[in-house]
């Protein structure tokens, strides 16, 4: 879910750009040169996954899939999501270049946070107390909720008249949150069966 060009106030856009630049800096410092192909392939894979139409009720939604990116990429989710959003803006005109910073921060910051939360649960929780797919589902749901909240916050702080729009946008995240949680849990279950080493965080 993107915020479009032309809506947000200059200070909000500037803050988003600065915070994203910081996140990008940390993310890039944690990638080794040898990890560039790996990170890029995952970025491409996540981008392709975000194009899938997932049926929901009578209609379909696109995945944001930032929670899963956070779990698999850690801080490298910042550059990965930035590149994903940049390409979406350039190739399809979604989002826009002026809001790239805000959109990057609003998806990547929750991703990094939820990724760390997932790995904390993985390491700390006693065996069997919480199953990893369930943990992944919860973390990705939380991730979308935070993204929705941040999207609402940037609208509200941009103009007092955006309150209702912000609430509507927040509500629109709820179905995405449910569907991402279900899918991420299944994807993590799939990966645990086939390549458990993938869930070891790198960056």
């Amino acid at each position: 879910m993107h915020i479009s060009d032309g809506i947000l106030a200059p200070p909000v856009l500037a803050a988003g750009a600065l915070l994203s630049a910081g996140g990008l800096g940390i993310g890039l410092r944690r990638i080794r040169d040898e990890d560039i192909p790996r990170t890029a392939m995952l970025t491409a894979a996540f981008f392709v996954a975000s194009l899938i139409h997932v049926p929901l009720g009578p209609s379909t939604v696109h995945l944001i899939i930032n929670g899963l990116a956070g779990i698999i990429l850690g801080w490298a989710a910042f550059p990965a999501l930035f590149i994903g959003l940049l390409l979406q803006a350039l190739l399809f005109g979604y989002g826009g270049l002026s809001v790239l910073g805000v959109n990057t921060f609003n998806t990547a910051a929750p991703a990094v946070l939820c990724g760390s939360l997932f790995h904390l649960l993985r390491r700390r929780s006693p065996d069997g107390l919480i199953k990893l797919p369930v943990a992944a589902g919860l973390c990705t749901a939380l991730c979308i909720a935070m993204t929705g909240l941040l999207n609402a916050v940037v609208l509200i702080t941009s103009h007092s008249r955006f309150m209702n729009a912000a609430l509507a946008l927040l509500a629109a995240h709820v179905p995405v949150m449910i569907i991402e949680a279900v899918l991420s849990a299944s994807i993590i279950a799939f990966l645990l069966k086939t390549r458990p080493d993938l869930l070891e965080p790198r960056a």
Partner: protein, 248 residues
Amino acid sequence: MNLTDSLNNHYPASVLDRLDPRLRLLAALLLITVIILLQSRPALATVLGGAIVMAVAARPPLTVTLTRIIPLNVMLALFFPFIALAHVQGLQFGVSAKGLHLFIDIVLRANALLITALALVGSLDIPVLGHALVHLRVPRRLAHLLLFTIRYLEVMHREFMALSRAARVRNFHPGANRHTYRTLAAMVGQLLLRSLDRAERILKAMKCRGYNGQFHLLRHFSFRACDAVFALCFVPGCVLLIVFDRML
């Protein structure tokens, strides 16, 4: 929307092609900043007009233009009731003058931003754009990540389409049910695995050609007289816009 189609640049040759791609990126960045900062409606209308003139010069194909402009304005239209409608009483709503003014400004600004990007950035081939970013001293790793991602986007998409075709020939019809979600999850999981295997093979192939952590670019851009002329018109134009905006 077709990814492979979108990756191909359909812009015909135009006068803007004579400009250094680095300059076009910097110009886009400057103009986007200016548009964000404009406050008065005449200035916004002027900049929208200017963006349209540049877009006409860049000659974006009609389909590209429409598939960008229509979704943006539909989205803005959905936004309209939330900001411009005011509650009168009971079930009666009216359009508030303040809200309407705000909405018009948003539409002008959003379209000016989109058309600027369409004119100055959209006509660049995506690989050229990547190279221009490298030469503009964007962090080296970020630029290489971008170039790698662009290169393999279509490969990953092809792998996903193969998975999805394989599911379809076995009569998979997506619907809102558990079987669909489990199948899609397996497909995305498979895609992630393949992307990692692919990354391993790429790194090996790079080592086989002596990779030692360095990338070199063959393509170099040059800043020529026409670039200087463009910059000499563009930058003062942006300054004038801001002055004009603040005087009103």
